[in-house]
Amino acid sequence: MIQQPGTSGLIFNEPLLWDKSRNGRCAISLPKSDVERDLLDENLTGDSPDLPQLSELDVVRHYTRLSQWNFGVDSGMYPLGSCTMKYNPKTNEVQASRQGFASAHPLSGDEFSQGALKLMYNLEQSLCQITGFPAVTLQPAAGAHGELTGMLIIHAYFAKKGKQRSKIIIPDTAHGTNPASAALCGYIPVNVKSGPMGILEPETIAAIMDEDTAGIMITNPNTLGLFEANIKKIAEIVHSKGGLVYGDGANMNAIMGIVKPGEIGVDVLHLNLHKTFSTPHGGGGPGSGPVAVNKVLEPFLPIPRIVKELDTYKFITDCPDTIGKIHTFYGHFGIMVRAYAYILSMGAKGLTDASKLAVLNANYIKESLKGTLNLPYDRPCMHECVFNDEFQAKNHITTVDMAKRLLDYGFHPPTIYFPLVVHGAFMVEPTETESKEDIDQFIDAVKAIAGEAEEDPEKLKKAPLLTKVTRLDEVAAARKPCLRG
């Protein structure tokens, strides 16, 4: 067996900030004020907030120690299904921190922000090219925000037609945020089941699609990692009743340069720059969720929009059908810089290769582990594959036990218990940036854990054993919430 990356080592305890605080310390040196002190009316001022008082080294040591309790893509393989935890190139950080970008004030005016506008315009063009749509907005701040934007656009489209619709079809293989995004626009989700092959069947949609249904939210490839091969037929059914097809493009990493959603019947699609386009996940954002639309829906895009006239770029707001604004300024520009740098670094061939290798890695894992873990849908997959804990049930070992044990082996666990369509799901998305050796280590680790499930199930129940803390009592946390120190 290959040596596994997980081992124990010295890490440090570190108290909460305020337990380190000592009156009189301050980790910033401010210049002496060079203007007169003005005292505001006492009725307006309050006490200084009781923030911790620390030296600079106190702060540095605190956050360095905290960081060592974390696991990131740079620490090891992070095959979190549906989240596309690929390598985040370091040069992208350098690009985003260039003074001309990082210091730019959003209200400097178009004339003095041509670099930012040109970058955004170019990024829009690249995303149009990758997705096959004629127009893109970069304004949404995250994937779910992009979904909301897309649904608002659909809502505005029907409002403009003069007849709003009340329902939206959402398959059981769609992303978890979809129903909540639709509900924000007042649409009632109509849940549908995928067929025995793990993909939607046109007849299912034909049976429920009607003229009071705004359309369908379809994740393709879906959360089982399978390509919705009937997408074109389904789109025809939805369109024939006047509905629209919303594409959740969170899984775009599987199909760059292979399929353009805009050419196969999808009307509006969101992307996640922090998934497909390699920007860091940041422990939960900031992300970016651009939305691409077809010609019919373009007038509804959020404002401002960017236009190019000769060689200059400008924002325009004169768009009478727009859904309005969804971000205070123009979205997460700093994230756009990183994604743009990634696209330029990869080039057309690099992006297509990325998708091909992401799919290769997932299929390799699927084939290598399908005797070890149960594979409910044994079909060629796209960028991720979904197993479950059925083989381990006889020893009362569940998905969570195996996931926790993987931590001891030095791997971040896959997404667990999602998608809901697979009971006890164990959803692996390796991404293209993992090498064969790292994947082989992961496969070995899962096999070893399956062996432990037979021989020493108690060990799995106690896992993880090498992490700073053991399993945490989430029930107690929710019952008596303690949300501040």
């Binding site: 009189g24 401010l30 210049p31 505001l40 960081s67 190139p89 210091s103 003095f112 390509f227």
Partner: protein, 444 residues
């Protein structure tokens, strides 16, 4: 390509295991008529040094590539960012992790955000703060939705006309599909939200007032709280400059039910407007209505302290369409940045920074008055204020940008057409007396 590790041999042996003869065969489950023919029309890949050249060329087209003097705020503020902040925040264990779904290997993010929540509640005087939102505008829209959903009778929310114009637009975008409406509370000649006009408003589900308001003035929030109490509706406040609460009374002390704010001032680069940091806080009573992630303290199996994501039953992945919001990823790394900033400046530093902001703004205002500007209001402000410019200022302003890299205020008549020739000025701790004297000389 340096991010793709596969050798030719790797690909061959992996394809064999996958039971395919070539990479293209991996896509056999996709019908041919759905596939594109040819390749993407995207330029060939750039090497890192070619990329550097291209990006620097773009960056240099922004005037921000020079050390410009920023007398602009309006939701994005120029503050000093100590070196420890980008240094610590670029630790890859923070940057390349995701939402802490596996708490055993995410205690860094979890404790860090728990400390963030705590410091935000301290800054705002509130019971609970969430793990962050996208920006102030989206956080405020969510706060308005909370108020609207809680009120079974009214479907309108009263929002001050001196709330950031973009935030009002975002609220409109968020609430109108559900059949809700905004009614704007007008403002007085003192540059304050008109509490009398609010009193006369009926059938409203909540009140939202920004302070300091968009024109920089400090509102008397207690008056609005009294109206909210009389009408038995929720009181929401918002702010765009979080450092104001290093000096000013916090929103909690006025009895706010919900507070939405922008945290960009807390160590986060302006970055052409994003990513910033949405702050969202509430009273205990609102705990289960708040959208987004919350971190809570608990014990592990050995009885040691630890932290987890909690109260997930409010959230989209559990409650689906009945969730309090659809938010999933928030602005986590920027929340961590703000936490590092607050820990760095501490109780002493935040007070001094806030004072310097205010003092410089007072000096700037006096200097502009002597240079021929007219004060729009005689109302207390923090670090932003409105001035009516003398004739010919617009041309001078453009020249100042081109010749001196100085941005002298923001013209606001596109937001408030009735305030012709009015400019919103801001001074922060990054502006020196010399900068202000120079500006006053130039605009005279």
């Amino acid at each position: 390509m340096r991010y793709l590790p596969h050798t030719k041999e790797d690909i061959e042996s992996m394809l064999k295991v996958a039971g395919q003869s070539c990479l293209d065969d991996l896509f056999n489950s996709i019908p041919d008529d759905l596939k594109i023919t040819g390749s993407l029309d995207i330029p060939e890949s750039l090497s890192e040094w070619e990329l550097n050249d291209h990006m620097e060329e773009l960056a240099s087209l922004n005037i921000a590539c020079k050390n410009y003097k920023c007398f602009m705020g309006a939701g994005s503020y120029d503050h000093y960012i100590p070196a420890v902040i980008p240094y610590l925040i670029s630790r890859s264990e923070f940057m390349t992790a995701y939402t802490p779904y596996q708490p055993e290997v995410s205690q860094g993010t979890l404790q860090g955000i728990y400390e963030f929540q705590t410091m935000v509640t301290e800054l705002l005087g509130m019971d609970i703060a969430t793990a962050s939102h996208y920006d102030c505008g989206t956080a405020l829209a969510e706060a308005c939705l909370i108020a609207l959903r809680q009120n079974k009778k009214a479907n309108k929310i009263a929002v001050s006309a001196l709330t950031h114009p973009s935030h009002r637009q975002i609220i409109h975008t968020y609430i109108s599909p559900s059949g809700y409406e905004i009614v704007e509370i007008p403002y007085t000649k003192e540059g304050l939200t008109d509490v009398k006009a609010l009193e006369a408003m009926d059938d409203i589900a909540g009140i939202s007032v920004q302070s300091p308001n968009f024109l920089g003035n400090i509102e008397d929030l207690s008056a609005f709280k009294a109206v909210a109490d009389a009408k038995k509706i929720l009181f929401i406040t918002s702010f765009t400059e979080s450092l104001a609460f290093g000096l000013l009374k916090n929103p909690g002390s006025f009895g706010a039910d919900l507070v939405a704010g922008e945290g960009q001032s807390l160590g986060i680069a302006k970055s052409f407007g994003g990513p910033g940091l949405g702050l969202l806080a509430g009273t205990k009573k609102q705990m289960r209505n708040l959208p987004g992630r919350l971190i809570g303290k608990t014990k592990d199996a050995n009885g040691d302290d630890g932290f987890v994501l909690t109260l997930a039953t409010r959230e989209q992945h559990i409650r689906r369409e009945k969730a309090s919001s659809n938010i999933c990823s928030n602005n986590g790394l920027n929340a961590m940045t703000a936490a590092v900033y607050l820990a760095t400046v501490g109780k002493i530093g935040i007070r001094e920074i806030a004072r310097q902001n205010h003092d410089k703004a007072i000096y700037l205002k006096k200097s502009l008055e002597m240079a021929g500007f007219e004060s729009a209001f005689d109302t207390p402000f923090f670090n932003e204020f409105l001035m009516k410019a003398p004739e010919g200022f617009e041309q001078k302003r453009s020249a100042l940008i081109n010749d001196k890299c100085t941005f002298a205020g923001i013209c606001i008549d596109k937001f408030y057409p009735e305030l012709k020739h009015h400019y919103l000025f801001c001074a922060t701790e990054t502006i020196s007396k010399k900068d202000i004297d120079q500006l006053a000389k130039e605009v005279k």
